[in-house]
Amino acid sequence: MSAVFAIARRETAAYFASPIGWIVLLVFQLMTGWMFLSGLIWYADASAQMMMNPYGGDSMDANSMVLQPLFGNMAVIVLLFSPAVTMRLLAEDTRMKSFELLLTSPISSFQIALGKLLGALGFGVALVLSTAHFVLILRWLGDIDTGILMTNYLNFSLMLGMLFAIGLFCSALTENQVVALALAFSANLLLFIFGWAAAGMEAGTAKEVIEYISMVSHVEQMGKGLIHIKDLAYYLTFIGFALFATTQRVEAMRWR
């Protein structure tokens, strides 16, 4: 496992050694910060109005009015930005010939794929931590349900894992980072669009399948603080499948 962690450590460090990691972090902060502030202002306005109404105070809930929309918006932002995080994972190695070091070291293709994914997730941890001050502000302002908060973080982390795993596979398909970015972006968009497609379909097995494949329903369910096995299975299946596909691709690159 030391080789896996060595690859992961190197990958995470590489994000902070190049502008791309800092740019993604900055843009993520600006966008989530703006959305958080908008939600907070809306919540404050609504609270002020409710204070005039002696019977309306109980319907004010920071969890559903600020926290859940914030995590929903964070999901959309990482959906758009995750390809920029993952595009270089294997494409850059192939183009710069540094991949030869990995291929000629006594490590398996799975170890390479897992190390790369964990490296991207190391950057994901930085993304997650960069939202901590929102939680602190909300806690200071009012009551936040810890269960809902933790479920949203779990959901966000699993979603990052899934999107990064898909991006990793796309990066293994080409040595051109722009192509890797476009492939991952298209795949992410499909996962999102399936939700819309399902909304317009008549009830039935096809609708259920499309709904299940779509990311939207899983994000919504866990966003409410509900943990279902099918939602966990959804994320873990995608992560496992993308990791398997990447391993196969690395193996093919080794013996092609």
């Binding site: 030391s2 000629t104 490590i107 092609r256």
Partner: protein, 298 residues
């Protein structure tokens, strides 16, 4: 130490390697010569386990590369022509990273030893992309050496270096080849091969032309290089009239005379009257290389 049998590699319709077979004994330093695209790097990559063969097999230390790549890679160090470095890493971090990948127990010690061997101690804190090409080649060598491999495969380690850097790397390879380490070295610089290798293999068009070029060297005097001051006075005709003459060629200003017997004395005597400038009675590796690759191409 290395056994290659019927190695074949096909890319689409292009046959990069066609039934290449050779073996390298423990402690041998082998030179691998051939024109660009001849199949040197393909052969080396297959032995190093970063490329699969279409047919045939390669064994290192008794292990088949395709079946036991990890076992082979644990005892083999490979330095490709383009050093497989991460430009944004510091030299020491990179070597330690390579050591970890290669399963070295004492990572820090192994990295220090490898850096010392290739002369990287002074630049160990530098970012790799800021290093000169010569130093980057050294970093590439250090990653190949960090696990103290029994077999070292070096693909054009002096490519793109200036003459001073070449000499440095050549001395370094000389040091690496000491002891019972097996080294396979590919280069276009024939002087390097002559200076460093026990044996020379030549490959052309994916086919191994010879596994021991030195045995192809003609007996002394069978090939004579001669340069004279006044060849226009009929020197060529004089050479052709020599007893035992076979054929005549040109190499720059020099004539290359081939004979059925030792012609050194006769050529020297003839050349004196045309103003003898230089005479050599031994065939050089360069001549064999050109002769064998030209023959196999035709």
């Amino acid at each position: 130490m290395i056994e290659v049998n019927g190695l074949t590699k096909v890319y689409g319709e292009n046959m990069a390697l066609n039934g290449v077979s050779f073996s390298v004994a423990k402690g041998e330093v082998i030179g691998f010569l051939g024109p660009n695209g001849a199949g040197k790097s393909t052969t080396m990559r297959i032995i190093a386990g970063s490329l699969g063969a279409s047919a045939g097999s390669a064994k290192v230390g008794g292990f088949d590369v395709a079946e036991h790549p990890k076992k082979v890679q644990a005892i083999l160090g490979y330095a490709p022509e383009t050093p497989p470095v991460y430009g944004n890493m510091r030299v020491r971090d990179y070597i330690e990273f390579a050591a970890t990948l290669k399963g070295v127990a004492q990572v820090s010690d192994a990295a220090l030893r490898a850096m010392k061997m290739v002369g990287l101690e002074d630049v160990q804190s530098r970012i790799i992309e800021n290093l000169s090409k010569g130093y980057r080649q050294r970093v590439g060598l250090a990653q190949a050496l960090v696990h103290d491999p029994q077999v070292l495969i070096l693909d054009e380690p002096t490519s793109g270096l200036d003459p001073a850097q070449r000499v440095e790397i050549r001395h370094l390879i000389q040091t690496l080849a000491e002891g019972d380490r097996t080294v396979v070295l590919s280069t276009h610089v024939l002087g390097e091969i002559e200076a460093l290798c026990n044996r020379v293999m030549i490959i052309n068009g994916g086919v191994l032309v010879t596994t021991d070029a030195q045995t192809q060297i003609a007996a002394p005097g069978r090939v004579v290089h001669v340069e004279v001051a006044r060849p226009e006075d009929g020197f060529e005709a004089t050479l052709r009239s020599l007893d035992g003459f076979r054929d005549l060629g040109r190499k720059g200003d020099a004539y290359v005379v081939r004979g059925e017997r030792d012609l050194r004395e006769d050529v020297a005597r003839a050349a004196l009257s045309y103003g003898l400038l230089e005479l050599s009675g031994r065939e050089r590796l360069e001549d064999i290389y050109l002769r064998l690759t030209a023959r196999s191409s035709s």
